[in-house]
């Protein structure tokens, strides 16, 4: 039952992540975190200082993991935009598939509830990156680059909500979902392909 500090800390983080995903920040209690870890409350306080503390660490780790994946996918500046889009969609779905609880937490409200009235900061972070990529392409083609913000929000929203739906449905396979997302974003409803396929694997 007795663990070393590092082990216990990691275990608490795992337990807390699962509980926050299940109940949300407010409804999860540190007592239950402790209980599920087979330990009493003060242990949690010893390691993380409090409820906000452990939540912050959990969120920070998930943010990093997710952004790392997506950022890397968007990294190659010279790649074709459509390939970038494909890579980003795949990266997001991979993350969700691999860390479902983490994604659920990131999509829920923060404790301070979306600081300053603005929307969930994570999706904004991602949208900002997409906006950058898109802005370059827009400028290259002579579109109004101020509209890049609008279109990036649309794209991120499209992928994010579909991802959440897929989280419960799990019906089409991951790769197929990605292909259809790209299909819609790239071709639009008026040019939908019958059986879309990804251009580039991973």
């Amino acid at each position: 039952m007795r663990m070393t500090g590092k082990e216990r800390r990691q275990q608490l983080l795992d337990v807390a992540r699962a509980l926050f995903a299940e109940k949300g920040y407010d409804s999860a209690s540190v007592e239950e975190i402790a209980h599920r870890a087979g330990v009493s409350k003060p242990v949690v306080y010893e390691h993380f200082g409090g409820k906000e503390g452990i939540y912050a660490v959990v969120v920070d780790r998930e943010m990093s993991a997710m952004l790392a994946g997506v950022t890397q996918a968007l990294a190659e500046d010279d790649a074709h935009p459509r390939v970038l889009l494909e890579r980003a969609a795949c990266a997001l779905l991979d993350y969700i598939d691999g860390s479902t609880d983490g994604f659920r937490i990131l999509v829920r409200d923060s404790p301070v509830a979306t600081a300053s009235g603005t929307f969930s900061s994570l999706l904004n972070d991602i949208a900002t990156q997409v906006e950058h990529i898109l802005g370059i392409q827009f400028a290259k083609r002579g579109y109004d680059s101020k509209l890049a913000a609008l279109y990036s929000q649309s794209l991120v929203g499209m992928v994010a909500l579909t991802a959440q739906w897929w989280l419960d449905a799990r019906k089409p396979k991951k790769a197929e979902v990605a292909a259809h997302l790209v299909n819609l974003a790239w071709n639009g409803l008026s040019h939908l392909e019958d059986k879309p396929a990804l251009r580039k694997r991973r």
Copy 2:
């Protein structure tokens, strides 16, 4: 200070809607609702039975208002799909513009947190309607109609997140946002129009 029952009830609903929008269900307290209305707690309990009661009424009203708008926009079965899309996007933006607090509430988590682990039921209701429309069109064109669910989620997510972004940004005018949304959904990134315009007014 003293009001008739109906007046007080309406005032409480207005105050509660604003507060729920600002703080979310958990962080809003009955006491603060009462205080903002210049009244004490038992009045709220007299009218609505409890916190869940008043929240339920607020949400129900907003759901009805929003769905009514969107449903009506999607009603004309014989209209061209693109026109339907335009009408739906406009209806949603109109609702958000006219009842910002209500929309903010609907997008947040429910008290029981999206019962049964599934995603926010409101957006799902809308997506279901879109799915129906889309299914018909898919069948007509020989696409796999099982994919209508996926594409409707994508479309709703696209519009919903963009709407939330616009809620804070307010940068392009409402009609312009709708035009660009339709532009992306309909034409796709590869066929973007430079200066999209809506086909049909209101």
